[in-house]
Amino acid sequence: MLKFILKRLLYVPLILLLVSFVVFALLRLSPVDPAFSYLVQSQIPPTDEALNTARIELGLNKPFLEQYFLWLKNALSLDFGISYVTKREVLGDLLYYLPTTLCLTLLSMLFLICVSIPLGIIAALKKNSLFDKCILLFSFAGVSIPSFWFGFLLILVFTLGFGVLSPFSELGFTRYILPVLTLSLMSLCINVRLMRASFLARLKAPFLLYARARALSEAKIARTHLLKNSLVPVSTSLGMHFGELLGGAVVVEILFALPGLGRYAVGAIYSHDYPVVQCFVLLVTLVFIVMNLFIDILYVYLNPKIAYED
């Protein structure tokens, strides 16, 4: 296992290198001239002289590969450049915004695990009951509602209606309640259905019969056999949900005015702020790699039969 983890960690620099090159190339393929974009953002008239000066200032007059290696050299010393828009250091800004996004994503993940797993199990145990049908309806509705609309609905009901949980107050724990509900709704609904299906499938599994034959208590069967086995497919989907939540955080951060990474990155994409986009993609790639590794390790805990061997 340790060998597996070390091997995966060794891949990290290679993946980051590849991603950085692809993103660097894709950004340069865009028809928008980054020097022009820089001048527009700096509100400097884009005359020919200004464009030439900007190209030299930003190193855009050099050949593509030279530009990339220069960027890479600086990046290795954690210098990701200065934002065209904010004129601040890119890495510093991204690290400033990252905790809000991680907090929002992890809280949403926690909420979705805590709610979807019990709901899925109860729905499976009470199959075809009224509760199960209500859960089915809720799941369909939940995956169909766009998150920005659901967010506005929550603000209308809670903030304007009951005068509580205002997303426009000081940044504290309560400010995360409505954003977490908004962000996790879709993934939660998907996960409830998945958990229900997975649990139902395990209810008919032969190992249950053998467990009962061994006179194990129902509680122990449910805890150590049924639940753990049902969680294997769910944990795969949790890895994907993490990506969904991280991506969906953009909309939620804009809607609820949270100072997060997604909101900052979207602004940078709109304004062709290349240094920010470049560093943002790398940072998110790193978060994904770490999260996937965590999920892979979780598999082994849930089902020791899964072994990562060379």
Partner: protein, 498 residues
């Protein structure tokens, strides 16, 4: 004991401090008075003052300078700066401080070259503590108007200079405006406090909090839920929300005076079908503007029939053609297909483009609507890669003087659209004459020529005269007024309810 008394006083002041809270899509920036983005113009006006102020109806009013004299040839301006003025940190505001700022601004002359005045300044110096002299290469009638802009000619306290060159950064945002920037939290808020040395009347609140709310609908919900007290600014509130809140008894809605013109620029250059004046005239006449004013702009703006609002200086002599019924305009001789470029994320531009597409279909003109992202849009404006493109004038105090000046620059859509006009050389000559004189007669004569030549060339399809919207909570704010510039919100003049 002293500690407990100060602690008590501090908590007392925090509990009873009166705040005014507004919303803006981004933080105000480091508030360097001599630089552009990310410094926000409205905030630069809050913290810094200029020598003079652009007042109502374009009248220039005293600000740091209490009076000024202009030499007979219009080339020398002498400003009188009264003694006893102070910056927000208590340091002296005199002619030497002004000189230091002008030095810093002119070190980055290239960056400010878009302003006619920057190109004209030959010399400047503090004659003594109370007199500042500005010498120009030639007379320039917009000198005082351009000195009053939110940037770059605003005065930073010498104590806040990091080096002679302010473009490399400043120590602190210290000016002589009504407010001082005290705290910034990125992506969350900026807090301003009152300048203790401000000369004007102090507002009846203690702090100005500017919350960062990027989404327009969230801003309205914040206002309705009392998270903020006032919404003001360009594109801060949508037409629909403004109209809706105007009928809500809890809020007051206000509109500023005219702040520029929104129009479509039609490319008359040789390599475009729109080079044909008859086609341009057909486009302008077939556009049912009244439908757009009512259905899209909800009758909140005035309809525009000329490039500049007639109330602006020298813009009242434009010869307007008799309006024709847009639905009975004769079809163009042959079928043509044209490209209209608009910013894809701008719903108003999209809706107007669609309305025009429908109107032009009646007269044999097929309009391709090209949704462009913002930077590409400006790239197209600059390169002249459009048949029709959205455009707007710069508003007060740039209109009409500085905006006409920009028509000489190849980096502007106007230049690209006009470059092949038969009378372009004459238009440019007249614009240059306007930029190099302060003589009323010469100004009048040349303005009359340029504005009428542009009107008769059919390269502009004026749509509406823009204004700034403001909505505020009636229970919190007693009085609010707009400034004469689009980015001057006069927040220091706001009166909160007792």
């Amino acid at each position: 004991m002293k500690f407990f008394i100060s602690l008590f006083l501090l908590s007392f002041s925090l509990v009873f401090a009166k705040d005014l809270t507004i919303a803006y899509p981004v933080n105000v920036g480091a508030l360097n008075p001599h630089l552009y983005s990310p410094n926000q113009m409205f905030a630069q006006v809050l913290a810094y003052e200029s020598l003079v102020r652009y007042g109502e109806d374009g009248k220039i009013e005293p600000l740091i300078a209490s009076s000024w004299e202009v030499s007979k040839d219009g080339k020398t301006y002498t400003f009188f700066i009264p003694k006893g003025q102070k910056f927000a940190d208590g340091t002296k505001l005199d002619a030497y401080a002004v000189e230091k700022n002008f030095k810093a601004i002119m070190l980055n002359k290239e960056r400010h070259s878009w302003l006619g005045l920057t190109q004209k300044i030959r010399a400047f110096k503090a004659l003594d503590e109370t007199h500042f002299e500005l010498k120009l290469d030639s007379a320039y009638s917009a000198t005082l108007a351009e000195l009053s802009l939110p940037r770059p000619y605003r005065i930073l306290a010498p104590s806040a200079f990091q080096s002679e060159d302010t473009s490399k950064g400043i120590k602190k945002a210290i000016g002589s405006g009504a407010f001082v920037l005290k705290q910034t939290r990125l992506g969350e808020y900026d807090i301003f406090e009152l300048n203790p040395y401000y000369r004007g009347k102090k507002p009846n609140f203690d702090r100005l909090i500017i919350k960062v709310l990027p989404d327009p609908n969230s801003r309205v919900l914040a206002l309705q839920s009392k998270g903020i007290d006032l919404l003001v600014g360009e594109d801060i509130i949508s037409y629909e929300n403004f109209k809706r809140l105007s009928t809500d008894k809890n809020f007051v809605t206000k509109q500023s005076g005219v702040q520029g013109t929104t129009m479509l620029t039609i490319n008359a250059s040789k390599d475009h079908a729109t080079n044909d004046m008859k086609l341009r005239k057909t486009i302008i006449q077939a556009f049912c503007k009244d439908v757009v004013m009512k259905g899209i702009l909800l009758n909140l703006n005035q309809k525009a029939n000329q490039l500049f609002h007639p109330s602006l200086p020298y813009a009242d002599h434009v010869r307007l053609e008799k309006e024709v019924d847009c639905k009975s305009v004769k079809a163009y001789d042959k079928k043509v297909s044209l490209d209209l470029v608009y910013i894809g994320t701008n719903p108003i531009q999209k809706a107007i483009a669609e309305a025009l597409q429908g109107d032009l279909a009646r007269v044999n003109i097929h309009l391709n609507l090209l949704a462009s992202e913002e930077v590409s849009f400006y790239q197209r404006q600059r390169s002249g890669d459009f048949d029709l493109i959205f455009n707007s004038t710069w508003g007060n105090p740039f209109d009409p003087h500085s905006f006409l000046g920009s028509m000489l620059e190849p980096s502007h859509a106007d230049f690209m659209a006009q470059k092949d006009l038969a009378n372009k050389a004459e238009i440019d000559k007249s614009i240059r004459a306007i930029l190099n004189t302060a003589d009323e007669q010469i100004l009048r004569k040349n303005y009359d020529f340029v504005l009428n030549a542009l009107q008769e060339s059919y390269i502009y399809l004026p749509i509406n005269y823009e204004s700034i919207f403001a909505v505020y909570d009636k229970a919190k704010i007693k009085h609010f007024e707009f400034g004469a510039m689009a980015t001057e919100f006069m927040l220091h003049k706001i009166e909160l309810q007792e």
